[in-house]
Amino acid sequence: MITLTVNGKNYQVDASPDMPLLWAIRDMVGLTGTKFGCGMAQCGACTVHMDGTPVRSCSIPVSVAAGKKITTIEGISDKYAKAIQDAWVELQVPQCGYCQSGQIMSATALLKSKPKPTDADIDAFMQGNLCRCGTYQRIRSAIHRAAELVK
């Protein structure tokens, strides 16, 4: 049994230690907002925060996550996250929406570390999150908008 702390709650999961955190979150904790896209840290769909840092949960063994504070899309609630989510709705960013949990987790972390990001900052920070629907232009605008909203 491994104890995971997800969104402030403790869960006992019966997972083999090498199971990626992603599957423990989705299939054992039962939170499905975090998505699977590639399983090799290429797409960012599985992005969660571990002790506040964005990580690709598909590539972190669940044993490594034990004892760390995990936050998923269902658990983000600070002013940065709120601003990002509001801006995402205002600018109607999602298309299919599948990549967007990951985009939002990354964007929230970006805003926290850089409250006024430039286009170049956004491009550098958000590069790890693929969007097959091509919502990139709106993602950029929405991050700028969120930066305004956060004040």
Partner: protein, 722 residues
């Protein structure tokens, strides 16, 4: 149409507006009672009706609109219910929207593809809404004993103008349900639209920013187990035997079963490892040892196949379209040119991998949850495949994490249903990214051979586009005397007035599963077609836009589109040194779109500076969604133009995941300025696809203008223009 028996009514009655698809829309009514799971209960109550049933109004005023078009990012979760809501006079944020699951009563159009959702539903679903509105108004007028003409509907209520009295739809539903259905309901004047034509927020967006939107991959039922399926990496191979002893020793693995995949005319076997967790299933799968018979396909590779297509191009081919006397005019023309264009195989690569959850109950009842573009087709297939009756099947059409044509093919659904049946437990089968990248189906390549001729004044007088390709249905016994319509899509539909034309098709078989891909064959043909038109313009020493306009003397949407492109891109304004601009347009079954792209020289490559898109719709339902769709289409087109694509070696797909089958990332995304033409007219054109085909040729024409290098083969390296 029968009335439901009184026993099917309970304390809560519903107004049901129903229509028969076919010759025209016939509206009917049935009153039915129900609890919360309305779809199933109504299905039981209206079993004997061959009807569609899109509106449900409960006595408490709650309204549900049924949406037959799966949502995959193209916005049908808003644009389709909007058609009903507009005429019904209800606000979209006050209704529940429910995806249909292939039920007969919702008619034959339960699929999303071909950019057809809005254009196919625009009139019919508005009529559904308008009929209901008229019935609700009549019911209120009767209750108040006032003329119908003194009443109107607004915000889910009927008002009596002179007195200001009003009643909610919920209170009126039962009385309205007993009225005659209007034969020809009066549709609203577009100038009174509150939803249609407006930038209206999509109701699925809030769900997609907090993790609550449910995709196929998110479905679960108690007792569910997981499957990961091993398939032969060599296309066309057959299973000889497998050893699952090691796989079964992996903790959590509970069974190993075979299943059959059937796609694009290709059948193949898979070995599914079924486990208590998905991770265990994947580990168990790695422990399988399998013997395949490659059937001689183990040496197949892209290079040889491409050479075969080049060789096949020497065949005359089947005539796809002919006008004038191409052969003679071309032979005698003073100026002529020829060129050969090549495009690659590409993958759909939706970020949500293929998946399905199948649950058999009591042997002959089946419930499935899946991300699919075609719930209607799945429902139609199940009786012959599994001996199921429609009333015993429940399909949950989930949000699609991308479709792009891939989810028109339910191979992954049927595999899962087989497995669930074999092991007697609900099974969720999920493809890995590697499965998704390697197994196809893929967009096939098309090669194009051109001939063009000009008269002494540089006017285009003869044109030939010969397409060389496999077909999407994967048929080996293709009748070579016929030109395949899909594989020659749009090549004879362009409005350019060229007197002598002969377009041709040469088939060359491919055993790898291929499929429709967003904008289908127009994505490759437009590149070749519109680049060659550019080559003709260069040969004629004409400005490429002016050259096109000179071939458009008659009024057409294409002409209007090019004029609009000229204006929004400031085509005549000189560009800085080292820059170039290119134009392209393409009209095909889904609609009409065009681009002007500007690039600048940067080192050995080019940088995309500006992208202007114009899409012609005739009628627009949600301009905000259209803008997003066109921007997304541009990104997808750019990926297909400048990233690797799919290649084959030793009978297998070389690429496996996003690291070697890359997609455009945010730092590579150009800004796309979108303009919409919505000037009315009889034809409503599609949104999801027409933003794609013209992008690559506009880009390559711009590159020619900037660098003098003509790109005739995709993909190419944008950082190193050879």
């Amino acid at each position: 149409m029968k009335n439901p028996t009184p026993t099917s009514l309970d304390r809560r009655n519903f107004l049901r507006i129903t229509g028969i698809t076919g010759a025209g829309l016939v509206l009917g009514l049935s009153a039915t009672g129900s609890g919360t799971e309305t779809v199933e209960n109504i299905s039981a109550a209206s079993e004997s009706f061959d009807i569609t049933a899109f509106i449900q109004i409960e006595k408490n005023g709650h309204i549900t609109l049924f949406n037959p078009k799966p949502e995959m990012g193209q916005g049908t979760f808003q644009s389709i219910p909007a058609l009903i809501a507009e005429e019904l006079e209800v606000s979209l944020d006050k209704v529940t929207i429910q995806q249909t699951g292939g039920e007969k009563k919702f008619g034959g159009g339960q699929s999303a593809g071909g950019s057809s959702s809005v254009r196919g539903s625009y009139q019919n679903l508005r009529k559904v809404g308008a009929s209901a509105r008229e019935m609700l108004i009549s019911a209120a007028a009767a209750q108040w004993n006032v003329p119908v003409s003194e009443c109107y509907a607004s915000e889910a209520k009927v008002f009596h103008k002179p007195s200001g009295k009003n009643m909610g739809y919920g209170e009126l539903a039962e009385a309205a349900s007993k009225l005659e259905v209007p034969k020809s309901p009066v549709l609203k004047d577009p100038k009174d639209f509150k939803i249609l034509g407006k930038k209206y927020p999509r109701p699925d967006v809030p769900l997609k920013v907090n993790g609550t939107a449910k995709f196929g991959i998110d479905a679960s039922v108690p007792g569910m187990v997981y499957a990961s399926i091993e398939r032969c990496p060599v296309f066309g191979a057959k299973l000889i035997s497998f050893d699952d002893a090691a796989a079964k020793k992996v903790k959590g693995v509970i069974a190993v079963e075979t299943c059959e995949r059937n796609i694009s005319g290709q059948k193949s076997e898979g070995i599914a490892v079924i486990a208590e967790t998905y991770w265990a299933a994947v580990q168990g799968r790695k422990a399988l040892s399998v013997k395949w018979d490659y059937q001689g396909y183990e040496n197949f590779n892209s290079k040889d196949y491409a050479q075969q297509l080049r060789d096949a191009a020497k065949q005359e081919g089947a005539v796809q379209h002919k006008q004038g006397d191409f052969d003679k005019v071309f032979a005698e023309a003073p100026v002529k040119l020829e060129a050969f264009y090549e495009t690659p195989v590409v993958s759909h690569s939706a970020i949500e991998p293929m998946n399905c959850l199948a649950h058999w109950q009591e042997g002959d009842r089946l419930e499935i949850w899946t991300s699919t573009q075609v719930p209607g087709r799945i429902m139609a297939d199940l009786p012959k495949m599994f001996g199921l009756k429609e009333e015993n099947v429940k399909i949950h059409t989930m949000f699609n994490g991308g479709g792009f044509g891939r989810r028109l093919y339910p191979d992954y659904v049927y595999e899962t249903i087989q497995l669930a049946k074999k092991i007697g437990k609900p099974v969720k089968a999920l493809w890995t990214r590697e499965d998704d990248t390697r197994m196809g189906p893929f967009r096939p390549m098309t090669f194009s051979a051109f001939k063009g001729a000009l008269d002494a004044d540089g006017k285009a007088i003869a044109f030939q586009h010969k397409v060389i390709s496999p077909t999407l249905d994967g048929r080996k016994d293709y009748d070579k005397s016929k030109a395949d319509g899909t594989m020659t899509e749009g090549i004879s539909e362009q409005k350019y007035e060229i007197e002598h034309m002969k377009n041709l098709y040469v088939h060359h078989y491919l055993h790898v599963p291929v499929a429709a891909w967003r904008a289908v064959t127009s994505t490759t043909l437009a590149f070749a077609h519109e680049c060659f038109i550019d080559e003709m313009a260069v040969k004629a020493k004409k400005d490429p836009l002016a050259f096109r306009m000179a071939m458009l003397t008659k009024d057409s949407d294409t002409k209007t589109l090019i004029q609009k492109l000229k204006e929004v891109s400031h085509w005549d304004k000189p560009l800085p040194a080292g820059w170039g601009r290119g134009i392209a347009q393409y009209e095909f079954f889904a609609g009409l779109g065009g681009y002007v792209v500007e690039v600048s020289k940067k080192g050995t490559g080019v940088k995309i500076e500006k992208v202007y898109a114009v899409i012609d719709l005739g009628t627009v339902v949600n301009p905000d969604t259209v803008e997003a769709q066109v921007q997304g289409a541009a990104v997808m087109a750019l990926t297909a133009a400048v990233k690797n694509g799919i290649t084959f070696e030793k009978g297998q797909t070389v690429q496996s995941n996003y690291h070697n089958n890359p997609l455009i990332r945010i730092n590579e995304m150009p800004k796309v300025e979108v303009h919409i033409l919505a000037n009315g007219g009889p034809r409503i054109k599609g949104v999801g696809e027409p933003g794609l085909p013209a992008f690559a040729p506009a880009l390559c024409n711009a590159i020619f203008a900037a660098t003098g290098k003509r790109i005739r083969k995709l993909p190419f390296d944008i950082n190193n223009i050879a």
